[in-house]
Amino acid sequence: MTFELETAIAPEKLRRVAIDPVSRVEGHGKVTILLDDDNKVHQVRLHIVEFRGFEKFIQGRPYWEVPVMVQRLCGICPVSHHLAASKAMDMMLGVKELTPTAEKIRRLMHYGQILQSHALHFFHLSSPDLLFGFGSNVAARNIVGVVAAHPEIAKKGVLLRKYGQEVIRMTAGKRVHGTGSIPGGVNKSLSDGERADLLKDIYQMVAWSRDAVGMIRQLFEQNLAEYNDFGRFRSSGMCLVRADGAMDLYHGGLRARDTDGNTLFDHFNYGRYWEVIAEDVKPWSYMKFPFFKSLGPDDGSYRVGPLTRVTQCDSIPTPLADKEREEFMAFDGGSVTGATLGYHWARMIEMLHAAESIKDLLHDDDILGHDLMATGQRQQRGVGVIEAPRGTLIHHYRVDENDLVIRANLIVSTTHNNQAMNTAVREVAKKYLNGREITEGLLNHIEVAIRAFDPCLSCATHALGQMPLEVAIVGADGRVLDEATRDHRGLTRESS
């Protein structure tokens, strides 16, 4: 991967736009662009203010509280944190294997989460860009616009999400911030009535998820050149895979490949993730930059999430999704597998996989079982890794002999993707913004690139589809040429 444009050659001549983390809401995104005398883009950076205070907050708390407490980290995928923390605490308790009921209930919860989060990400947040165009009229470029222009598509999106939330409610006890998964197992299984309720609609959900894959495929067919090229760059990748190399979003070993597709490590025990991953710090960003140790900080960045998972697994263990994976891999000679917007296609394949997996689990009597908890030989440390909707999520805790957490380290998917998002934003800025005046439409191109990875940087849904973004163009003399902010009030600009 190249780091061109990340750092200006003679930045002293350019005024740096500082960000003040205190004035920013959690996860606020800011893009700064520096121009030279010829109005050429000289430096592009995506600053993300990450909320790291949580790791401190957890210190001194009893371990059994952690899976419930960490859900507050994210408004879109609290269940991922709930499960990753539970898995870490399983390990800490020495539980090597959950009971079949516990394992399947947790998987059901996780697939429900994938379904609802992917539906939200694609239909509510991204489909307006894809259906209307990246620079289209901002007034209609939102879910309400989709409802008006494509009511059938919008309806499916809303109902898919709702179904996923129902799965979560029945397994976790609540749609958001439930308590279902506890260290060593779960606190409930499904009743006959709950299973029957979910079975009623699951076939429809599978069918709609399949339609969604068809829809993004069609969009690619119609806009192949633009979609393939948009924010494109070569990258290494990492994800969990099952022992046989198949996709497994809940559990497995780590697989990493470099930009040429060569294996860097495979089936690596995530309990020792620090042997293969380190985190780099850059002076201009509060968010860390993780990298593969074997490649070093300069070349070792990687991406995570749907695109990596779908392209790096050997197969998907549900038939419809696996067929879609094969077609995706073969499409246009495999070109889409490296496209930033290929994330959306891969995301919909995963949504289909989640729906099929829910269907299979609903037909498994173990989900009605009553053997919920397992025990083991207590350890001091626990690592839990899960493939969250947006990518690999790592939770790592040390617990003292009095059962209190003394250290916590969390690496969320946004952090793994930090460098990748920076690169994608840079590619887009170079191509679309170069020397031009900022319009809302151009600014949205940057947002489209970020949104391929992350629906909203903050792990906070309060600004649904209205990711706060700032762009500043600064001339070589330090003069701010153009500045634009996009937030809940829309686009505000200050040009000098």
């Binding site: 009893p62 509280e65 609540k174 308590t179 606190n187 409930k188 009095n402 059962d403 209190l404």
Partner: protein, 235 residues
């Protein structure tokens, strides 16, 4: 005159010597309360049980029932004052219900729901209170203490041990303390089987390693509001 009084217009029988609270509870009528427990001597500190007797305020947990009393209980005026008391309790401690395992089983939370408390209203104090995890079986999280004194009473009256004591100065310093030289629970003869181990109405005194075992929907106050669960044999 026979031994009855009126509670919000309902006739409540009593035996001489019973308090208004005892008689109402025996009859299945709910008077909001936090520091009163049928098994232990009256503490009379939370004032949540305040009622109006013949037009004058009084604590129903301390006031003896008298024939013909007119007692106002769940009036808008009284519930309003109770709500304010609750809000003060919430801001004086660190009550973070979403990640508290007592959620759904907590009397403070259930009472707040009962009285339709929608927000803390006042600024949070965020007092600096410790967690004592020294005991092998029991965790003490003083962040949530509402100073009801029930653990003090249970340890003394039921367990014969005197493990807990009220202490500290000032609004922020005052809370329950462990009566051992080190101040640590591990240095007492406290046992998980003590009555005091299961008496706390909020989430201070907790069994270790078994959080969140009861799923949402099956916890005490998921099943029915606190006002519908009036029994003389509270846990």
């Amino acid at each position: 005159m026979n031994n009855t009084f009126q509670l919000d217009g309902e006739e409540i029988p009593f035996t001489p010597g019973q308090t208004i609270m005892q008689a109402a509870t025996a009859h299945g009528s709910y008077i909001p309360h936090l520091c009163w427990h049928p098994d232990f001597s009256v503490h009379g500190s939370c004032k949540l049980c305040t009622v109006k007797v013949n037009g004058r305020f009084g604590s129903s947990c301390t006031m003896e029932a008298q024939p013909g009393m007119e007692v106002e209980n769940r009036t808008a005026e009284l519930d309003d004052k109770r709500r304010t008391l609750l809000q003060m309790l919430f801001v004086e401690g660190n009550h973070f219900c979403p990640s508290c395992e007592k959620s759904g089983d907590c009397k403070l939370q259930a009472t707040a729901y009962e009285l339709k408390m929608m927000s803390p209203h006042f600024d949070m104090f965020y007092p600096d209170r410790p967690v004592d995890a020294s005991h092998p079986d029991i965790l003490l999280d003083f962040n949530r203490c509402i100073m009801c004194g029930l653990c003090v009473a249970a340890s003394r009256e039921a367990d014969g041990k005197n493990i807990f004591a009220m202490g500290g100065r000032g609004l922020l310093g005052r809370r329950v303390h462990v009566s051992s030289e080190s101040g640590k629970l591990a240095d007492t003869d406290f046992a998980a089987t003590d009555r005091a181990a299961s008496i706390c109405p909020v989430g201070v005194i907790l069994s270790k390693r078994r959080g969140f075992v009861v799923p949402i929907g099956r916890r005490t106050y998921d099943l029915a509001p606190i006002s519908a669960q009036v029994t003389e044999k509270a846990p």
